[in-house]
């Protein structure tokens, strides 16, 4: 087909621009602009004012960041997320790969298993939090099964156990999604490699370690990254499961603190600074994780 000069400038189907315009406007309005606005707010003395009111919002440099970093509650929340990630990420990788591997074998009741692992993921966090509260209550079912072994103070009100309990809850809730990712990745591992491994006399465990694990490495990179992002997004669980991050801030997450400082206490500039720090933290973690987990990609 011959292309006129117009087609060279606009492309063969300029109508495409019209088709993507709503989407681009959406991305600009809901992602790009707020992103810039968040950074702007974090460097200014920004406060809530009536719509249309003209108020002075002076540039304050790093003052909001100083406020944030010298706040022990914020530092504690960032530390809590690290505790969360140290428990949640390895547990997620090991359990989801193990279960996906077991599911991948031709096994009876496959559909049943797939559905049961995925159900917590599709259910609203608010709904399942209700059951977990009931289960992990001081006189809940878990403790009545454990009897004298039950921790005192109980799981969610114990400052050493609250965050680990939240981390285990989230692992359970999200696992189905990660199992699905691994199931998809397992389809791409070559069958020949397994045959070669068994020719070399490798047992099931050996061929899992030497064929499966390296074979799904790109998926592992993705799982680690997504689990980290989930941890950084943590809000509903500490808000509801541990009554707003209790006991005494032991399970508070950065997003929870961001909500309290930014909206409840009316300091959106401080909240925005927490958000910016959180994202920088996630990016740094993602880079470090990539170095360790995704080393064979590059």
């Amino acid at each position: 087909m011959r292309r006129g000069p117009l087609a060279r400038v606009l492309g063969a189907h300029p109508i495409g621009t019209a088709f993507v315009t709503p989407y681009v406007v959406f991305l600009a309005a809901v992602f790009a602009y707020p992103l810039g606005f968040a950074v702007y707010m974090s460097f200014h003395d920004y406060f809530f004012a009536a719509p249309g009111a003209v108020v002075d919002r002076p540039f304050v440099g790093f003052a909001n960041y100083v406020t944030v970093l010298s706040d022990p509650a914020v530092r504690r929340a960032f530390g809590n997320v690290l505790v969360f990630l140290v428990i949640n990420v390895p547990l997620t990788v090991v359990l989801s790969l193990g279960l996906a591997n077991a599911l991948n074998a031709a096994i009876r009741w496959r559909t049943f298993f797939r559905v049961s692992y995925y159900v917590p993921y599709v259910t609203a966090a608010v709904a399942v939090v209700g059951v977990w509260l009931f289960l992990f209550n001081s006189n809940g079912l878990v403790n009545s099964v454990l009897g004298p072994l039950a921790p005192d103070p109980s799981w969610l009100v114990n400052s050493g156990l609250a965050m680990p309990t939240v981390a285990i809850y989230v692992t359970w809730k999200q696992l189905g999604f990660f199992i699905l990712l691994y199931l998809a990745a397992l389809q791409n591992v070559s069958k020949d490699l397994y045959e070669a491994a068994s020719m070399d006399g490798a047992g099931r465990w050996k061929s899992f370690l030497n064929v499966t694990v390296p074979g799904v490495r790109p998926a592992t990179t993705l799982v680690v990254l997504l689990a980290t992002v989930t941890g950084a997004n943590l809000f509903t669980e500490p808000y509801l499961l541990t009554g707003g991050g209790g006991p005494d801030g032991a399970s508070a997450s950065p997003v929870l603190i961001m909500y309290q400082r930014g909206i409840e206490q009316g300091n959106p500039d401080v909240g925005a600074a927490i958000g910016v720090l959180l994202v920088i933290g996630v990016l740094l973690l993602a880079l470090i994780e990539r170095k360790f987990v995704g080393k064979e990609d590059s």
């Binding site: 993507v20 989407y23 939090v129 509260l133 808000y239």
Partner: protein
Amino acid sequence: MKRKFVALLIGAFVFLFPFYYMLIGSLQREPDPSVGGAFPQPGNLTGHNYAEINKAIDLGRSLINSGIFTGGVILGTLVFGVLAGYALARLQFRGRGLVFNLMLLIQVVPFQLLTIPLYVLIVRSYGLADSYLGMILPFLINSTAVFVFRQYFLQLPAELFDAARIDGASELSILWRVAVPLVRPALLTGVLLTFIGPWNEFLWPFLITKQQDLQPLAVSLSNYLTTVSARAANPFGAVLAGACVLAAPAVALFVIFQRRFISSNLSSGVKG
């Protein structure tokens, strides 16, 4: 093989038990946290908790709100997302690469950073607090669904489109009469993917709705959980009854359409 089966069975028990317990707990007259309480006793069963939670938060109203919120997001994603997905897959125009890269970039921008600025913009600047529009706006077009639509449109043979263009059909009618009917299964996948997000979303509607009669069920249930439940006679029973109502639509949709969630559309993302 047997070991794997047993491991999967134990796993399935751990994953399903809380749901079973949710249902049992919602039907118990008296909460019974002992081991025996995990088994239904005919004398202790009642529908009273459902009436109780319905009295406290008006389930019907909350479900309608959840439905409008979710429906708005699905509609926006279907209309604008299909247009964008089609253009990105089948049309040559200036800036296509840019839009595509933007779409991928967006996937890694964490929503939590945007919570505060979006709250300021939507609530304070645009005055959209306590409105369906304010609830829907940040989720209006689901980027993951746009990506899935694009992948499916890409799989259709190019000759089909060339032939239609030679016949002089406009792009809009090609999209509507040729492309969409061929990717109907993808549209269903897109709807299911999109459904889970707003139906289960908590933080955003929680931030922007203070008026009780506009709150989706997840928000009103959490408010009940944090404030009212201390005063109720059997708070856990009522909470669990609400939880069942909130969980049921998503779980039912998933169980019915579970084949649609499986690997094929996800594997393209993993291969990357």
